[in-house]
């Protein structure tokens, strides 16, 4: 089965490079190219591709906004963010907006193919370069407690420690203790990394993250 793909990037050289990667793969079909967010959104609505590769920074709507629109409309198009920025906050923002993949533009054709195939099947793909620790394949994380999972999910949704504490009827101090324990168990150094690692190891799912409060 061929995967129908839309590619949106305002930079023509990069766009043609990526387009070539995609065309070379036999199981992929490049159905449209767009050079800004608005055009991408129009073409997604019209062509309903299986996968949309979106640059984050584009004139008009940025990639995250387009992803949010796709998510809000409940479309089946899987979004992969394609960017030259390695900020983890972009990853989190993209995932919250419903993206299932986050890939840097320096990606190799092989990795890009993997990413597209993974999200097309409903999986989650994050560029290993985004969080360096995530490249360690043989790490097996310790099981999180129920409370710890709750704390992690609320924190991932952007709640501050104070708000998490209020939400779970525990003290702020306890929230900090839980977070420290979560970092320890996942081998992360901060909240964002903890969330990304938890997603990677399947400790939490993207659906849980996207659930409304």
């Amino acid at each position: 089965m061929t995967v129908r793909i839309l590619l949106a990037d305002d930079h023509p050289l990069t766009r043609s490079g990526i387009a070539e990667f995609v065309r070379r793969e036999e199981s992929f079909e490049l159905v449209a190219e767009a050079e800004d967010g608005a055009e991408a959104w129009e073409k997604i609505k019209e062509l309903r591709p299986d996968v949309a590769l979106l640059d984050i920074r584009m004139p008009g709507y940025d990639g995250v906004t387009v992803a949010q629109k796709v998510k809000n409309e409940g479309m089946n198009t899987a979004i992969v963010m394609l960017t030259s920025y390695d900020a983890q906050q972009y990853v989190i923002a993209s995932l919250r907006a419903g993206a299932r993949g986050f890939v840097l533009k320096t990606v190799s054709p092989k990795e890009l193919t993997t990413a597209i195939n993974t999200v097309a099947k409903g999986g989650l793909y994050l560029d290993p370069e985004v969080a360096s620790v995530m490249g360690e394949q043989d790490f097996i994380p310790e099981q999180l407690s129920v409370r710890e999972r709750e704390v992690l999910l609320l924190a991932a949704k952007g709640l501050s420690s104070k708000e998490v504490a209020k939400h779970l009827f525990i003290s702020e101090r306890t929230v900090q203790t839980h977070l420290a324990s979560i970092y320890d168990k996942l081998g992360s150094r901060n909240k964002t990394e903890a969330l990304l690692l938890a997603l990677k190891y399947g400790v939490v799912t993207l659906e849980e993250l996207l659930e409304d409060d």
Partner: protein
């Protein structure tokens, strides 16, 4: 006088000074005029009074002595001697004498002869009062009246002004002295007014006129001016001094900014030259060698590694120049920076955001200045304070966004910290942060105590 003053002060526009002078000169002139008029009319009144007195005296005597006979009867002469001039004790003032046609003195009141001789003039008219002066300058009036007798004869009457009018005469003498004194006093008052008030005021005015604020400081006022002008001048001096200092500070600040900009350009050039440029050169060499190399795969692999390194380096470089993730919102931007700094310095950085910090639409330049403050604060905390833990808190206080950064470093004495000391001591980063915050209408406060870490509080209106 007025037109002269008007001319003198025209142009400078300071009519006030002209009016001030007039206010002093006009009353003085009026007083002198009144005094002179008073003096002249008093003199006239006195002269009239003395003249009619002497005329009355001479006339009534000559009337008494008039007769158809030429014989002087005893009763006539005894009548004459009954006039009070001849008795001792209180008597009416004056001297009288009866002189015959031949010039002989027939009879005279005591002391008359000496007095009359001393003031006698040969051109005296008959039947008129004449004012004369003796050698000492004393005033007298005398009158000569004819006696109606066949043999003729004259009555001579004289009176001394001081004798008749007493103190009034000396007052007339004092009048001119008083007027001169009055004029002199006015002159000195005007001179004083000129040297103490008007001249200093004019100097002050021209000084203010020619002064360039921020460049000149007025010179010290010469001694001898009034207190009020001193106060105004001192205030002007302080104001000008402050303006000069403010200008100097601004100039130094601009110079610092320019220097920092140039330094930054040099750093950027070096970084690109030593990093990306070297890498791309290496990449180009690899590509050149690919063409005539049998082991193309190895060369290509190497090229890929180099290209990836260039991208990574340039990306880090761009992040350093202007973090692109600002557009995600202030909380996300701070979290991203905090996590990066935490990894770069290998310290714990906690972030906490109050409700509502993400609601407000905050301009990117405000977010950027908050990020720069965090960067600077964390860098200082680690490098100078040897901190291992930094807490970053962001909260809303009404329409203010408050950023609180505290560390567990060794701290310093912040009691006398200000922009200038920061600048001088080389904390140019924090100094320019303070400046930047004030430019955006915010504030930056640094509190620290030795051994108690440092707290930086930045407040911004959003």
């Amino acid at each position: 006088m007025l037109s002269f003053l008007r001319k003198k002060f025209a142009g400078s526009g300071s009519h006030f000074l002209a009016f001030l002078l007039c206010a002093l000169i006009l009353p003085s002139a009026a007083v002198v005029l009144v005094a002179v008029t008073g003096m002249v009319s008093q003199e006239q009144a006195m002269e009239g009074a003395v003249s009619s007195y002497v005329q009355d005296l001479a006339e009534s005597l000559s009337y008494h002595l008039s007769s158809d006979s030429d014989v002087w009867t005893f009763s006539m002469l005894s009548d004459f001697t009954r006039f009070p001039f001849f008795s001792w004790g209180p008597s009416i003032p004056g001297w009288v004498a009866l002189i015959g046609q031949d010039g002989r003195v027939i009879i005279s009141s005591p002391g008359s002869m000496n007095k009359i001789v001393s003031i006698w003039r040969n051109d005296l008219p008959i039947g008129q009062a004449v004012r004369v002066e003796d050698r000492q300058g004393a005033q007298y009036t005398l009158a000569v009246y004819p006696v109606k007798r066949p043999s003729g004869g004259y009555v001579v009457a004289a009176v001394s002004w001081t004798q008749l009018l007493g103190g009034l005469v000396s007052i007339v003498r004092i009048w001119p002295l008083l007027i001169v004194a009055m004029a002199l006093l006015s002159f000195f008052a005007i001179r004083l007014l000129w040297s103490r008030v008007i001249a200093p005021l004019r100097n002050l005015a021209s000084e203010i006129d020619s002064m360039t604020l921020g460049k000149d400081v007025p010179e010290k006022l010469p001694e001898g001016s009034i207190q009020e002008i001193y106060s105004v001048h001192n205030a002007l001096q302080r104001y000008a001094q402050a303006a000069v200092e403010r200008d100097n500070l601004r100039n130094r600040y601009v110079r610092d900014v320019v220097q920092a900009q140039e330094q930054e350009r040099m750093d950027m050039a070096r970084e690109i030259h030593d990093g990306a440029l070297q890498d791309v050169t290496a990449l180009l060499q690899q590509i050149h060698m690919i063409a005539d190399d049998e082991n193309k795969t190895t060369r290509l692999k190497r090229s890929e590694i180099i290209a990836k390194a260039v991208v990574k380096e340039l990306r880090a470089f761009c992040d350093e120049l202007a973090p692109p993730w600002m557009d995600l919102g202030v909380n996300e931007a701070i979290t991203e920076l905090a996590e990066r700094l935490s990894q770069a310095y290998d310290i714990v950085i906690m972030t906490d955001y109050d409700e509502g910090t993400d609601d407000a639409e905050i301009e990117n330049d405000k977010i950027l200045s908050l990020l720069r403050i965090i960067q600077e604060a964390v860098s200082n905390a680690v490098r100078h304070g040897y901190a291992t833990e930094v807490n970053i808190e962001l909260r809303r206080e009404d329409d203010m966004l408050v950023l609180d950064i505290s560390d567990n470093g060794k701290g310093f004495d912040s009691s006398n910290i200000n922009h200038e000391t920061l600048r001088v001591e080389g904390h140019r980063g924090l100094a320019s942060m303070t400046e930047r915050m004030s430019l955006m209408g915010g504030t930056l406060r640094i509190t620290s105590k030795v051994g108690e870490g440092t707290e930086i509080k930045a407040s911004l209106k959003v």
